[in-house]
Symmetry: C2
Subunit: 259 residues, 2 copies
């Protein structure tokens, strides 16, 4: 996030088609559309949705991802839905008695990038809510995708399944730095500004007779320097703290005169 | 998945606490619990849930993740909810005017692993559905987590936000091979079995006078060998195909006698 809000669905690079096979609840179709658009995917294909199409419940659950639903195409069977695709992945939570490579969502996303870079059209099959994909549908796929979830509790709902796979697709092409410096309009202080602050503190601690024994000074100075090195002060914060130290120093001097 | 079903929630290694701040809909609390347990997380903390606690709608939406909801603890404010934690992350979709590191969910998960390996107790804050976390709540956190979603459509629902972060946590400690060989009880053929099959096919093509010109043979043999190298036949499939070739060969011989 933290990006511009000007990207339109039509600006998005093409991604894999999301094929929902016999989805039952409109709410889940809407949640799938939302998850797709969150991750920049826009091509939804529906095989025999149970409650017909268009389904108003899908639109009310999509939280604004209407464009994905409006462009969705409907097919009579899985074969028709994947007829123009070169490469098909089948998502399944359970082991199938089939000889076929099984990829994690992460590995599958990388694999899809390779397929699409070669110009192949790619689709991902998701099964109906309770029972998943049939064996004939899994057989049609080139590759199985299975997420290595908690084996005691591995069933995802349809929207969440689509989110995981779409999220891995998005990440596989995303260049966001893993750790970003969120500046809030300011800039990290240069090291000499922090050093000036620390030397100011050092002088005031001496003037306030903080150290009962001079041997304590080196360890304390090192601790203070480590604290400020970790804190990564901004230039504004450095000026603020110098103001705090200066204010306390002037109070100390005034009080010292009165004694 | 494809694992044993014997893992119990109590067997799971400890993970970060999921702190839902002022969640509004019970359904979303249930979806969050489900996403947590999918990814092996069990510690849920609730700050002032709008509709009180326990909330029957959360239980009906949790699809069997009741144990997470039953163990959830409730707090009057965010400060109390994180009082015993050493390290706190705040999830937010939008830029905050604060100087604080911002990590992707992937980087944050790796960071949490480091924190927990050092014995620190970790929690992740998620805000209320419409408005997210308040600035004072984000200020309490050591680190911000922001997912680099489609900038034109970056709002996730609560259950989906929890799923993304919990999924990255799970993956950061998961050793599943990215690509697995799903054998369905059989084993890949040894190369000499495949070579025997190919030589059988070569002989039959010659006998059937497939090649109009002998120069065609080397290219065809290379093509056939590449097809079978990609297909990665199992030992059973190799035997099946030898049976197919043998049957067609015997038919050819019988027909040849009749002519």
């Amino acid at each position: 996030m933290a990006g511009t809000d000007s990207t339109r669905a039509s600006d998005l690079a093409p991604g894999p088609a999301i094929v929902l096979v016999e989805p039952q609840l409109g709410e889940n179709i809407g949640a799938a559309a939302r998850a797709m658009l969150n991750c920049g995917l826009t091509e939804m294909r529906l095989v025999r949705p149970r409650d017909g199409w268009p389904n108003p419940k899908a639109f009310s659950a999509s939280a604004g991802a209407d464009a994905v639903l409006e462009a969705a195409t409907v097919y009579r069977n899985t074969g028709d839905a994947i007829a123009d695709l070169q490469t098909v992945y089948a998502t399944t939570a359970r082991h199938r008695d089939m000889v076929k490579p099984v990829m994690t969502p992460t590995a599958a996303a990388a694999d899809m990038r390779g397929e699409m870079a070669a110009g192949h059209k790619v689709g991902i099959l998701f099964g109906r809510e309770r029972t998943g994909l049939t064996n004939p549908d899994v057989t049609r796929a080139n590759t199985i995708i299975t997420a290595p979830l908690n084996p005691a509790y591995s069933s995802l709902n349809l929207g969440q399944s689509v989110l995981l796979v779409a999220w891995e697709w998005l990440k596989s092409g995303d260049a966001t730095p893993p750790v970003q410096y969120a500046a809030g309009g300011s800039f990290p202080a240069a090291h000499d500004d922090v050093r000036d602050l620390l030397e100011h503190i050092d002088r005031e601690l001496d003037a306030a007779e903080f150290y009962r024994h001079p041997d304590q000074r080196p360890a304390m100075q090192q601790n203070l320097r480590n604290i400020f090195a970790r804190a990564r002060l901004t230039d504004q914060e450095t000026r603020t703290l110098r103001g705090v130290v200066a204010r306390m120093a002037s109070l100390r001097r005034r009080l010292a005169k009165k004694i």
